[in-house]
């Protein structure tokens, strides 16, 4: 099973490029699609989900051309959009039954699947409550359930953890890990820690273009020996921010603990620490952007 995205571009009517000459080939597993806000993640997701047509390029999934046979792709697709609505006068079961019907599922087996999905997304107890009374997080979980209705081979989830509490985030990540064995899961996010534990591949997109496509380990190797941590006086923080790519700050009684990415030791007191995926991402964005890392 393979998803080939070949030189895909999308130009909007305003002349702005959403995605530009984007090529990548994906195998089963969780692919973390990471990029800053406005990088083109959602545009790419929508193209893959057959919602938006690309201006040029080709997408092939399991030998099927997405542009020529979108319905065949849709049969294999589960999609959780970044921003979606619900029908407030339906309850969770009715809403999922409706979407199961639209997706062409058999009524009886859909019913069993819905039961199981509601259990998985932890909504069984409120299954008969109208969706209009659901909180944002609960709606998000309904979105996750509908994406899994058809047991999709290609699962596309766009910023899926937005609105979920920490427990639900872990639950959802575990679910994706469980599902990813024999399918391609594309997990789009701007929060690197969301995909840190589960992604088998990281694809970084910036200004619509592919920045890097690598295994998480490869990315980490890039910043190995470049992540430093030490405590600085609060008043020095602005100048440090000017000079280095900051990975994080924590306030202490004696100053601010800064985590920076730098090829050279920034200070006598600085100590080398193991890198995280987020450090690698920041380093990459900075290096390919303004070339901030000294």
């Amino acid at each position: 099973m393979e998803l080939i995205i070949d030189s895909v571009s999308k130009k909007y009517g305003t002349g702005i490029w959403g995605v530009r000459d984007f090529s990548v080939s994906l195998k089963p597993g969780i692919v973390g699609l990471v990029g800053p806000n406005g990088a083109g993640k959602t545009t790419l997701m929508r193209i893959l989900a057959t919602i938006t047509k690309p201006t040029s390029g080709k997408i092939i999934f399991t030998g099927i051309d997405l542009l020529k046979e979108p319905n065949q792709i849709r049969e294999l697709l589960g999609y959780l959009p970044q921003d979606f609505g619900i029908y407030p006068n339906l309850n969770a079961v009715e809403f999922l039954e409706y979407l199961a019907a639209v997706k062409g599922l058999d009524k009886r087996s859909a019913s069993q699947r819905i039961d199981e999905l509601l259990h998985v997304v932890n909504l069984s107890e409120v299954r008969k409550h109208l969706l209009g009374s659901y909180s944002g997080g609960m709606k998000q979980r309904i979105g996750i359930a509908q994406a899994l209705l058809t047991d999709p081979r290609l699962l596309i989830v766009d910023e899926p953890t937005v609105g979920l509490d920490p427990e639900e985030r872990i639950r959802f990540r575990n679910l994706l890990s469980d599902l990813s064995g024999d399918r391609i899961v594309i997990f789009s996010t701007h929060i690197v820690s969301d995909v840190e534990a589960s992604a088998t591949r990281i694809v970084v997109i910036r200004k619509g273009r592919l920045l890097i496509d690598a295994m998480p380990e490869e990315l980490l190797r890039e910043v190995e020996g470049k992540v430093w941590e030490w405590i600085v006086p609060s008043e020095d923080l602005p100048s440090i921010k000017q000079r280095y790519t900051i990975g994080g700050t924590v306030r202490h009684l004696d100053g601010v603990e800064v985590r920076i990415i730098s090829a050279n030791k920034p200070d006598g007191d600085a100590r080398l620490i193991p890198p995280r995926l987020e450090d690698a991402y920041l380093h990459l964005i900075a290096e390919k952007g303004k070339g901030k890392t000294p």
Partner: protein, 559 residues
């Protein structure tokens, strides 16, 4: 000063947002088109406003008055629907929540919205007025442009009427239960009633006999101010047209009138009481705006909960807390075992139709079902002819707010990405949606159909079935192409008023407005419509609408 600055920015933002939309061009284009129809060239036997078969020569006074009357009468309806989104847009986009946290008072906000509605309507009417100057020059009967001929009716008739429309639109938006489709229907009938009232009043208000000196005319408060124009034209006609006994014909631009005579009308002579009478409506608009401010909930979501059509109005956090949290052990052991299989084509189709019907009917209140059941029962009791001519027109309007969601429900509820990313959703869901709308019409009309079957009136049954097919097709095309329910609600109500309601009123003993509206009798409620072959025309029309709606859906699917 700060308040004025805030007002300016509210007005500016709304104005820019609206004037950059294409539907403004449609409204302006339509107003100019109707104005052109009402100002036919010399030698063409079509007539505009006329008194005793005479019309005024096309000088600035006549052209300015014509465009003003048409604007205040005909632009009030679409204008209301165009601007009735100022508050709901802020709510939908979330901007309202930001505004609610500012120091802006409810009155400032509402007043700002009224002014922005007004500025938009006034600008649209202004463009139509400027264009009509061109029509005057093209017609060439009077080449001198007199600005007062255009500006006085614009300032004294158009602007007060538009501020009233602007305020009423904001009032409807401030009252939750008038904000949606129900409010659209209520305004339509209010408009219709005021139009009829104006027609009735014109009999009282217009002078009917020639007298020496000025005829005595009673003051009748009327928001459009069109009566002022009619009175002035009528009075001039009495002085200038021999044998004219009074009265005024609004004209029918589609009808051939034969030879047209002209006379010179130099416009309304504005006197202080008339001007004060017009300003009265501005005062009323301010009163309506104040009323709207008192109803306005300042985007408080808890007031929205009061309108959630359910027994469940409990707070969301309470519902969230009902869910038992999984233990940390459970967090790591999640699996999906069952796999849903795909059904065959027909079973899937019926499954979607059932789901669509449920989606349509879910959330309807008991009284909606009671009225629907009442229509079925009454139709069974009445004789077939009355069942068809009186009950079926009502059947064709009662589910209006359900049909109006067809083709745009996904956009309105933002479920489009979920639905449209499903395989074959264009064919499957589109056809199933229309079928559900068709079944709904048949269900509510089942009493009529059973009554007609018992009477073996097969041709009439066919016309009823065609109507049941036509309505959801019309809803689908207008819903898919406009992306909202409003266009169908307005256009369909207009069609229903000119067609079935017109015939229904005739069946109830009221006179027909005109026989010409037979073409709009899409339900075949009169024998004349059936003998003219209307069901057949509408059957063909339904197919065309479905094809165009299908293309519209295809367009929705791919961006």
């Amino acid at each position: 000063m700060k308040g004025l600055r805030v007002l300016y920015h509210i007005v500016r933002a709304d104005f820019c947002e609206r004037f950059r939309r294409y539907n403004v061009l449609i409204i302006i284009g339509l107003t100019i088109f109707i104005t052109t129809l009402y100002l036919p060239p010399e030698g063409v036997g079509r007539l505009s406003f006329n008194v005793g078969g005479f019309r005024g020569i096309y000088n600035s006074a006549w052209v300015g008055a014509t465009v003003t009357v048409l604007t205040v009468i005909f632009m009030s309806l679409p204008g209301f629907y165009l601007v009735k989104n100022a508050i709901s847009r802020d709510e939908y986009t979330g901007v309202g929540q930001i505004i609610a946290t500012t120091s802006l008072s409810k009155f400032q906000y509402i007043f700002g919205k009224v002014i922005s509605n007004w500025v938009f309507l006034a600008a649209t009417a202004g463009v139509a007025m400027i264009s009509s100057m061109g029509i005057q020059l093209i017609r060439g009967e009077a080449l001198k442009i007199s600005l007062s001929g255009y500006l006085l009716p614009y300032f004294l008739l158009t602007l007060p009427m538009m501020v009233l429309v602007a305020a009423v639109a904001v009032l409807f938006e401030s009252i939750r239960w008038l904000r949606g489709g129900f409010g659209n229907v209520v305004f339509f009938f209010l408009f219709l009633m005021s139009y009829w009232m104006m027609a009735a009043l014109s009999f009282v208000a217009l002078p009917t006999t020639t007298s020496s000196g000025s005829p005595s005319i009673p003051f009748i408060p009327e928001p459009t101010g069109a009566l002022e124009v009619f009175r002035s034209i009528s009075t001039a006609g009495m002085e200038l047209i021999p044998g004219y006994q009074g009265g005024l014909d609004l004209g029918n631009p589609f009808q051939e009138y034969g030879h047209i005579s002209t006379f010179v009308w130099n416009g309304i002579v504005w006197r202080v009481p008339s001007i004060l009478g017009r300003l009265l409506w501005v005062g009323i608009a301010v009163g309506i705006a104040s009323l709207a401010a008192s109803f306005f909930d300042r985007f408080d979501p808890s007031s929205l909960a009061m309108y959630v059509r359910s027994k469940e109005t409990r707070p969301r956090c309470e519902l969230d807390s009902q869910v038992t949290r999984p233990s940390s052990e459970k967090l790591t052991s999640i699996t999906l075992s069952t796999t849903a299989s795909r059904g065959n084509r027909m079973s899937v189709y019926f499954h979607i139709v059932g789901s669509e019907l449920r989606l349509m009917l879910k959330g309807r209140r008991w009284w909606w079902y009671s009225v629907a059941l009442g229509l079925v029962s009454i139709a069974l009791i009445l004789p077939p002819s009355q069942s068809r001519q009186i009950v079926f027109p009502l059947v064709c309007v009662w589910p209006l707010l359900i049909w109006s969601q067809l083709g745009n429900r996904e956009i309105q509820n933002r479920t489009d990405q979920l639905v449209f990313s499903a395989a074959f959703s264009q064919k499957r869901q589109f056809i199933a949606t229309w079928t559900a709308g068709f079944i709904l019409a048949l269900l509510v009309g089942s009493g009529v159909i059973i009554r007609l079957i018992l009477a073996s009136d097969w041709i009439v049954i066919l016309s009823v079935v065609v109507a049941a097919a036509f309505i959801p097709a019309a809803a689908l095309i207008l819903g898919t192409w406009s992306g909202g329910p409003k266009l169908f609600e307005v256009v369909y109500l207009l069609l229903w008023t000119l067609g079935p309601m017109n015939q229904m009123m005739a069946a109830l003993g009221f006179p027909l407005v005109t026989d010409q509206f037979l073409a709009f009798d899409y339900i075949g409620s009169s024998d004349a419509a059936i003998s003219e072959g209307m069901p057949l025309y509408y059957a063909v029309f339904t197919i065309i609408l479905l094809v165009l709606a299908f293309i519209g859906r295809k367009r929705q699917l791919q961006v």
